[in-house]
Amino acid sequence: IACQCVSFSLQIFINNEWHDAVNKKTFPTINPATGEVICHVAEGDKADVEKAVKAAKDAFKLGSPWRRMDASDRGLLLSRLADCIERDAAYLAELETLDNGKPYAVSYSVDVPMVVKCLRYYAGWADKWEGKTIPIDGDYFCYTRHEPIGVCGQIIPWNFPLLMQAWKLGPALATGNTVVMKVAEQTPLTALYVASLIKEVGFPAGVVNIVPGMGPSAGAAIASHMDVDKVAFTGSTEVGHLIMKASSTSNLKKVTLELGGKSPNIILSDADMEEAVEQSHFALFFNQGQCCCAGSRTYVQESIYDEFVERSVERAKKRIVGDPFNFNTEQGPQVDEEQFQKILGYISSGKREGAKLMCGGGPAADRGYFIQPTIFGDVKDDMTIAREEIFGPVMQILKFKSLDEVIERANDSKYGLAAAVFTKNIDKAHYISNGLRAGTVWINCYDVFGVQAPFGGYKASGIGRELGEYGLDNYTEVKTVTIKVPQKNS
């Protein structure tokens, strides 16, 4: 690890202090490029969550420094946090790559800058999240206050550890909540480093608490805690169900979920072929295929199908898989052994169910969790690889004839996170984008994430929206205040 700018600890971060787990347990975190242990990290469990929630609750008490702070000063703290992350960008990118396996060039030029922009964006919102005054009937004066919800549990995934942390912290802190965050056990390191920066810039103790640990223990403790007022989770749809259940059997805490997807990417025959091939490749293979919004059902119009498949295979074969610290590398390893095995299982199922393997299909190295860029042609809608989220570098290409057919097939999924359409025709672009049941539709592009634009899922892909102004809703309680007045005047 290169020069360490700020010391941070491999422990649990509560009240701006570092703690061992109450039960003294630790867990190893692995470098997925080698399979070797990087270090051991304190493993938070129910008792640690208890401590963290208490700290967050205290920090949220009426009269606390955090509650009395000017909104603009909350914004300034977030802005300073962004500055620190920018300062330590190289170190954070390195740590992210080490722990997650994503290419360093991507960590440095995509993940970290997006984190900085996200925090700056929400810094600006802090003093702009306005309530309203409302002309109600009768001799009353009515207004709303946008108040923070309280203690927010946040459970984040391992595919974009830093970025997901920023997506969660940005709106929660801008609106004045306090946070108990559980980071993924596969990738706890960068989040802990950010914890040290949170302390450095001067957030009051207890405002942000970070607990590394496992889902069934620490995660479950957050989701079912009686003093956690809201829980936000990003991860699998399966766990999303558990979170919601835990909320309903405990205190009906507010729930926002950003879950899985099986996003359709529709290529019409009039699209710019070269651009469509490259973007579809990127849509699926980016981040080793470990994106909830991966374009994993590529629907190609009949007349260009063969050419599209051929060129996609050509492109996939050129994809450089290898050491994530090599600047030429496009694709690193999958995050861990479990994911690696799961993806290989899906590839077998594809072959078994009759899809045509066009390239790849196996491990790409002797050690580490590398998988060859894989493409299936002649994929049918009912095959497992066309229905389930693979979360790996496996592309499914399907054929369609008409617009109405493709809209129906694209929507025939329990998921509804993202979608894309490639066409030069203005009417077709609108017709399809309006017809798709997805929280995000990209037209002639893919994976374009502006922090200013909301993101989230229809159907089983989630509840609520993150990013943009909409993202603030999930962290706000609206209080309506009505005052009796002697006589109303407009």
């Binding site: 964006y121 003093d127 200013q452």
Partner: protein
């Protein structure tokens, strides 16, 4: 001297800063300030038991050299940048109002310079320019950086502001500079949050709006808060992506020029901000009537506001926003927290030597507490320390100019002539500089000039009222409608009066509680449009409705 002695020694050597900034100052037209100040600030605070004496020693030495010799800079051709003044050597002087002495000469912009500046602003705004192609979030970054630079140079800027306007240094530092920094930061945050909408139109159409910048904005700022007013103008204009031709007041051009240097340092593309010191009837008029300026924003007197609107009407119907004068009522009910009301009413009118458009210059006091309120207000006004703005105990500095001073004294005279009761003050103290004593009039009648005209000086008018209906009517009986306040502990009175007052801002149990998040502007002849807050952005955007024919509409 016995007791604990704390000595703070702060040396602010501005020579380097000034050299760097003024050397590279990129100001279109002839806006080049020829100033180099080395400031040595020695602040000695001595605390003596029981009796606190605070001494401040402040030395300002105008150094007679920058890079070349001063004489050449002042009188010779200026080649500091490639922007040369059109009229070589035409300058005006800016004065220290605390002494009446000249600080320095500043290049005076005229019509030809405005033409050049507009050309620069137009080309910076052309489609495909760096500024037009820039991400909104990046515009925000630049504004945020500007705020950081202002924060870095706070001490220098506050010194310069006090030197040029005469306002107390501590007030410059803690009020003006903070207000400036916060305003820039606030609008920095808006840049990428100015949302258009998509609209469910009838028929087979898809409609969306884009909030686009208006274009070249002329901005004319006053002398009472030179820095803050500059920030109020630049913040929203730049956040929305406009380009600017800004004229600071001729009385107080210095800090605005320094901001020009910081704008360059922050990295705004050339031509986005152009600053032209000069006079209203020449440079100001040229801006207001320019065919290449799309919008003009003016803060100043109602009289000039009318001229601006007229010039816009006669030229190209440029959009006009105006923030003008006021004669703001401050209503004190008998149930109010008395201490608070006296102090706030005092600050409400005397703050900034009374040179606030929001000044609470008509104090309406409910009959039962009238005598006592007058007595306490006079007592408070007598205690008000008037003097050297660089003395930390000073509450009130001079008026900004000899002209303002004589205008205030003339209005005081009219008050005496028309029969108001002069309770204290009323004249200029026998020192040099443009000072006016804190003045209180009681038994003021609504028809008197001092109750109708904006005095813009440290003169408090106290009137009596009996009923809530009466005071609402009297408070609203003015051509102005900028601000108002009510002091009461009764919720119903607060709600009733605040709803009934015709004013752009109403303060309840406080005064001058301005903040960049809250809109500010005037009803009636106090102005047009609002500054600050989200609504302030509206004044710097054109809304474009785009409607597309679409087949097969779905909800």
């Amino acid at each position: 001297m016995t007791g604990r002695v704390n000595v703070f020694y702060v040396r602010v050597n501005v020579e380097l800063t000034a050299s760097r900034c003024f050397n590279t100052l990129s100001v279109t037209g002839s806006a080049i300030c020829l100033l180099n100040i080395e400031i040595t600030l020695a602040l000695c605070v001595c605390c003596v038991p029981r009796e606190r004496c605070i001494f401040l020693f402040f030395f300002i030495k105008l150094k007679k050299s920058i890079f070349w010799n001063l004489r050449r800079l002042f009188y010779g051709p200026l080649l500091l940048t490639h922007h040369q003044p059109v009229m070589f050597g035409k300058v005006f002087s800016t004065y220290n109002p605390a002494t009446g002495e000249k600080i320095c000469d500043v290049q005076e912009a005229d019509k030809a310079d405005v033409d050049k500046a507009v050309q620069a602003a137009r080309s910076a705004f052309s489609l495909g320019s760096v500024w037009r192609k820039m991400d909104a979030s990046e515009r925000g970054r630049l504004l945020f950086k500007l705020a950081d630079l202002v924060e870095r140079d706070s001490a220098y800027l506050a010194t310069l502001e006090s030197l040029d306007t005469g306002k107390p240094f501590l007030s410059s530092f803690f009020v003006d500079l903070q207000g400036t920094i916060k305003t820039f930061r606030y609008f920095a945050g808006w840049a990428d949050k100015i949302h258009g909408s998509t609209i469910p139109t009838d028929g087979e159409y898809f409609t969306l709006t884009r909030h686009e910048p208006i274009g070249v904005c002329g901005q004319i700022v006053p002398w009472n808060f030179p820095l803050v007013m500059t920030a109020w103008k630049l913040g929203p204009a730049l956040s929305c992506g406009n380009t600017v031709v800004l004229k600071p007041a001729e009385q107080t051009p210095l800090t605005c020029l320094y901001i020009g240097a910081l704008i360059k340092e922050a990295g705004f593309p050339p031509g986005v901000v152009n600053i032209l010191p000069g006079y209203g009837p020449t440079a100001g008029a040229a801006i207001a009537s320019h065919m290449g300026i799309d919008k003009v924003a003016f803060t100043g007197s109602t009289e000039v506001g009318k001229l601006i609107q007229e010039a816009a009407g006669k030229s190209n119907l440029k959009r006009v926003t105006l923030e003008l004068g006021g004669k703001s009522p401050n209503i004190i009910f008998a149930d109010a927290d008395f201490e608070l009301a006296v102090e706030q009413a005092h600050q409400g009118v005397f703050f900034n030597s009374g040179q606030c458009c929001t000044a609470g210059s008509r104090i309406f006091v409910e009959e039962p507490i009238y005598e006592e309120f007058v007595r306490r207000s006079v007592e408070r006004a007598r205690r008000r320390t008037v003097g050297n703005p660089f003395d930390p105990t000073t509450e009130q500095g001079p008026q900004v100019s000899a002209e303002q001073q004589s205008r205030v004294l003339e209005l005081i005279q009219s008050g005496i002539t028309e029969g108001a009761k002069l309770e204290c003050g009323g004249k200029a103290p026998p020192s040099k500089g443009f000072f006016v004593e804190p003045t209180v009039f009681s038994d003021v009648q609504d028809h008197m000039r001092i109750a109708k005209e904006e005095i813009f000086g440290p003169v408090q008018q106290i009137m009596k009222f009996k009923t809530i209906e009466e005071v609402i009517e009297r408070a609203n009986n003015t051509e102005y409608g900028l601000a108002a306040a009510v002091f009461t502990t009764d919720l119903n009175k607060a709600m009733t009066v605040s709803a009934a007052l015709q004013a752009g801002t109403v303060w309840i149990n406080c005064y001058n509680a301005l903040s960049c998040q809250c809109p500010f502007g005037g009803f009636k002849m106090s102005g047009n449009g609002r500054e600050l807050g989200e609504i302030g952005l509206k004044e710097y955007t054109e809304v474009k409705t785009i409607t597309m024919k679409m087949s097969g509409k779905k909800s």
